[in-house]
Amino acid sequence: MKPAPFDYARPRDLSSALSLLGGNAGAKVMAGGQSLGPMLILRLAQPEQIVDITAIDELKQAEISGDELVLGACVTHADIEDGRVPDVSAGAMRSVAANIAYRAVRNRGTIGGSLSHADPAADWVSVLAALGARVTLRSVSASRQVSLSEFIVGALQSCLQPGELVAAIHIPKRSATAHWGYVKACRKTGEFAHGQCAALIDPDVGSARIVIGALDAAPVLIAKPAELFGGRVDADYKTRFDPRVADRLLNEAGVTDAVHRHIHLTVLKRALQEAA
């Protein structure tokens, strides 16, 4: 298995990368290449040109800006796992990063690449949606910010327009009173999850962001989370969780197979139980 031929460019700055992308509809951005690489090798993806963005320093920065952490798209899972970037998630992101695929993959796989690939079973897709993250998308002509749930459109499908790339991820600071729970069900260590739930719950202010991932389609951000807890989110949310409501929501989200629904529901239940 070897890839079809492609042209290759490794620009040094973002504007060069954007003009390459803007000028060629057949160009594809590559960061660490840990998802795109296999697809190229299998010849499932056959872009005319690869624009390698890993030489762009601007995309390899991490800084706290106001109340949020801004990560460049080329920050790796290992950078987060090892604590080489600041943390605003009270450790949540570090433990998520440490359980993505395998160490050798984490040393090259990037947060921006993972999001752009939009695999519904990927960790960051659900985790960052639950953390309320936003992404900055850049093209030659524009820069825009979208929320994670707007960003992922479907399985392997983001809202990226031709010529556009993910430049940065903005993660808001986790409130001191917020609980965090994340559970994924994998058949074996490091493999694609078949059940996944991330929950950020702040009983003090009555808010909850609950994301169910590893569906065949885009992850589901539960629109009215209070429904899951009999109408309000408060300190008793764990005991007031109503699985029947969750079951209905999953059904509405297209999880019609009873076995799949049971597994997703169990993962959701456990993410809530685990939240702390």
């Binding site: 298995m1 070897k2 890839p3 079809a4 031929p5 296999p38 299998l42 010849r43 069900a185 058949r187 074996k188 260590t189 490091g190 493999e191 694609f192 078949h194 059940g195 009873a258 076995v259 799949h260 049971h262 597994i263 169990t266 993962v267």
Partner: protein, 790 residues
């Protein structure tokens, strides 16, 4: 014999020594030489155009003008014969597998054209540019549907899809009135053997020797040469097959590949070396698969759990073609002969079908039919136990062949050679502590998981020879196994054997056997294998036979060499040969000793000092070996598994695993342990992870290691291992074959444990692998049934 073993154990190198391996260093430094590592001047790469469809008529193959001289199809292969692996069993239908498809393709991945270029990437570019015009035909991918009268036909002229049907019956009517009768359908999934290294072929032509040289990652190079000579219509002397370091076999590399024939033809056509290295996608979708069985089985027993009989209809999905040399029917025919297991069975009926489908041919995989048979029989025994109200292990203890019955000829005329089967089971039960486990089950788990205990036991015919294989009538019948033992001029020992080593540690264990016979330091023993030009003919490495057969051959050759050494030594010591001994690589007499080095020096460099009547064969002996009785050794093992099942997520965790195994006398216990550990890991794969699914059109769906899941370090526990060492009565040193055993019993033990865990919620799983989805499905179904009943 045993006195000898004790004597050399002192040196820590002979039979029984836990000796570190001679082969490790080069492998750990990246200096192993696997087929993809071979570099030949002018070599080009080959990529194949393969069928995207499971069943289709080829209307056309369109090759771009620019690539006309780089693409070859069946039309080019004039004079090349199809692969035919015929069985002599009555009623067997013959499949002819063209090495490149001619009119039809019968499986996804079947070879249609070969493309050659300086690099693999460019060869794949060419392959991608070849356009196929295929007329899709209805495909049959389900073996039970394939048996139906209106099924699409894989080979039209057969009139049905049955390679072979067999019937075996002894007295089944006597069992039918038994008070306990349990029936089930049991299924094992189609698998891939998935050695970490795939197949690969480098072909070149040696004009000096007028020889085609085929380097291939193979377990049985001499058998590959047979097959190549038949397909290419060449004299065997004009073909040399080399198998270099091999990155795991497990049965997958015991087949003649169409790719080997293609590359052989191609190098002769093009005049330069060519190579093809199987990639993982090719391996998973296009190469041989294994293990897919279906059983419709009924067990009959008395109220006390005593078995009265088995009635079974077994179907094996053999895929589209009969693979060379084991054929499409070995697996199913073996099911019929081994289904009664290690038990006393008064009545038995088994009907088997080897069925052709539009899928890869199947090959025997570690354990061959035994893994499926053990799964089916041992799951059924648990159901008998439940009916009889007994501990599952108790039913086994009441029915196993007892030690005082050994040797025992069972209902299918298998000759169980030795051992104490109940003792293995008792030791396993003691180690796992059944009572404590049952108490823990009653208490329940704080995390809501359910604990289960499962046991299984099997006996495995290994190293079986001429008398068994001549009956199958397949292209390969093992006879005497030979070895060449040669002393080098400086007193080192070269051993040449026709079997191969791809993880089995033969470079170490055969050196230990040589040490046992000659006392030579294993560091001075060099093992040469994997080359038809340098080794005696052998059917190769399969069927847990190497330790018994090659070990016996090396012992025999070294023994004969030792006699010649002693005769020369005695002359040098001026003693009668009856008065000298060969100990610790020296010939010792009453008046002194002479070393192997001195003896070798005399033969090669100072022949003037040799006795007049010296054996002119010199210090180079080829001898053959066959056990006194070649119906096989019967190693056996009891496995016990404790699992925790999460009924809501379907996850199965193995908490404890015990194996009590009897492999006869162990040449190197460390190596035996390693074989059992590795077999267990593969058995866990069969039980819980590995499956090659197909869609309705016969498209394979697990085409990467992200879909076809191999167990990793977190999925395989370290088992507790206990050895019994009952010497085999008919083999050299009392050795039994054990290479496959580790992979036979785990699926049954684990499935029984899962079913034990889920019994109280009424769920039952009768199919491997036991995936989270299947567990949750069974639990939900049982809950539904429970509600309906209430």
């Amino acid at each position: 014999m045993h006195g000898r073993i004790d004597q050399h154990q002192a040196s820590g190198q002979g039979v029984g020594a836990r000796l570190p391996r001679k082969e490790d260093d080069r492998l750990m430094r990246g200096r192993g030489q696997y087929v993809a590592d071979i570099r030949l001047a002018g070599m080009q790469d080959v990529a194949f155009v393969r069928s995207p469809l499971a069943h289709a008529r080829i209307r056309g193959i369109h090759v771009p003008e620019a690539y006309r001289d780089r693409v070859f199809t069946a039309a080019d292969l004039v004079g090349v014969n199809p692969i035919r692996a015929v069985s002599g069993l009555p009623g067997f239908k013959i499949s002819e597998q063209p090495v490149l498809a001619t009119d039809k393709v019968r499986q996804v991945g079947e070879l249609i054209a070969m493309c050659v270029a300086p690099t693999r990437a460019e060869a794949e570019d060419i392959a991608a540019a070849v356009v196929l015009d295929l007329e899709e035909l209805p495909a049959v991918h389900d073996m039970l549907q394939a048996r139906a009268p209106d099924a699409p036909l894989v080979h039209e002229h057969w009139g049905d899809n049955i390679f072979l049907e067999t019937n075996f019956e002894v007295d089944i009517s006597a069992a039918l009135d038994a008070p306990i009768k349990v029936s089930r359908e049991i299924t094992t999934a189609r698998q891939c053997m998935a050695p970490l290294e795939g197949r690969g072929v480098v072909a070149s032509f040696d004009h000096r020797l007028d020889q085609l040289v085929v380097t291939t990652s193979a377990q049985m190079p001499h058998i590959n040469r047979n097959g190549l000579a038949e397909c290419l219509g060449m004299d065997q002397g004009r073909i040399r097959v080399i198998s270099p370091d091999v990155g795991g076999g497990f049965g997958h590399k015991g087949i003649l590949l169409p790719e080997e024939v293609c590359l052989s033809w191609l190098t002769m056509r093009l005049g330069h070396p060519v190579r093809w290295i199987e990639d993982r996608r090719e391996h998973l979708i296009a190469s041989a698969n294994c293990r897919e069985h279906h059983y419709k089985i009924t067990l009959y027993a008395d109220r006390d759990g005593k078995l009265r009989g088995i009635d079974c209809e077994a179907t094996v999905d053999s895929g589209a073609y009969s693979s060379y040399p084991f054929s499409a029917c070995l697996e199913a025919a073996q099911v019929a002969s081994i289904l009664p297991g290690p038990y006393v069975m008064p009545a038995y009926r088994c009907r088997t079908f080897s069925v052709a489908t539009n899928k890869c041919p199947i090959l025997p995989y570690r354990g061959v039919a035994r893994t499926g048979v053990c799964f089916a029989l041992e799951l059924m025994l648990d159901l008998v136990a439940a009916e009889a109200g007994l501990e599952p292990s108790e039913v086994r203890l009441r029915n196993l062949v007892q030690p005082d019955q050994m040797p025992f000829d069972n209902i299918t005329n298998k000759h169980f050679d030795s051992g104490d089967y109940p003792e293995a089971m008792r030791r396993a039960l003691e180690a796992i502590d059944v009572e404590a486990l049952r108490a823990r089950q009653r208490r329940g788990e704080p995390d809501g998981r359910r604990i289960g205990l499962g046991v299984s036991i099997y006996c495995e015919q290994a190293a079986h020879g001429t008398s068994v294989y001549s009956g199958w009538g397949i292209p390969m019948v093992p006879g005497h196994e030979q070895a060449t033992a040669r002393l080098t001029p400086d007193g080192g020992l070269e051993l040449r054997v026709g079997v191969h080593s791809h993880g089995q540690s033969m470079e170490t264990t055969l050196a230990q056997v040589a040490h046992e016979m000659l006392g030579i330091d294993v560091g001075n023993v060099r093992i040469i294998l994997g080359d038809t030009a340098m080794t005696p003919y052998s059917t190769g490495t399969w069927g847990s036979r190497c330790a018994v057969m090659a070990g016996g051959a090396v012992a025999t050759a070294c023994g004969d060499l030792g006699d010649r050494i002693k005769r020369i030594g005695a002359k040098l010591l001026q003693q009668d040969v009856a008065d000298v001994e060969l100990i610790d690589a020296e010939v010792r007499g009453p008046n002194g000793s002479v070393t192997l080095r001195e003896i070798a020096h005399t033969w090669y460099r100072r022949p003037q000092d040799l006795p007049k009547d010296v054996d002119p064969g010199g210090l180079d002996v080829t001898s053959g070996y066959k056990p006194q009785r070649d119906s096989g050794t019967f190693s056996y093992a009891a496995h016990a598994a404790v699992v925790a099942v999460d009924p809501d997520l379907g996850a199965v965790e193995i908490l404890d695993y015990v194996i009590v195994e009897d492999g006869g006398v162990l040449i190197n216990p460390m190596v035996v342990d390693g074989q059992i550990f590795g077999g267990l890991a593969q058995g866990i794969g069969t039980a819980l992870y590995e499956e090659m699914p197909f869609d309705g059109a016969g498209q394979p769906l697990a085409t990467t290691f992200a879909d076809y899941l191999l167990p990793g370090p977190t999925e395989v526990p370290a088992p507790r291992l206990d050895h019994m060492e009952t010497p085999a009565p008919y083999t050299r040193f009392g050795v039994k074959g054990i290479g496959e055993g580790g992979a036979i019993a785990p699926p049954a033990a684990i499935a029984n444990a899962v079913n034990d865990a889920l019994r109280r919620c009424g769920a039952e799983l009768m199919r491997s692998p036991i995936t989270p989805h299947r567990v949750v499905e069974a639990v939900i179904a049982a809950q539904g049934a429970g509600r309906a009943a209430a």
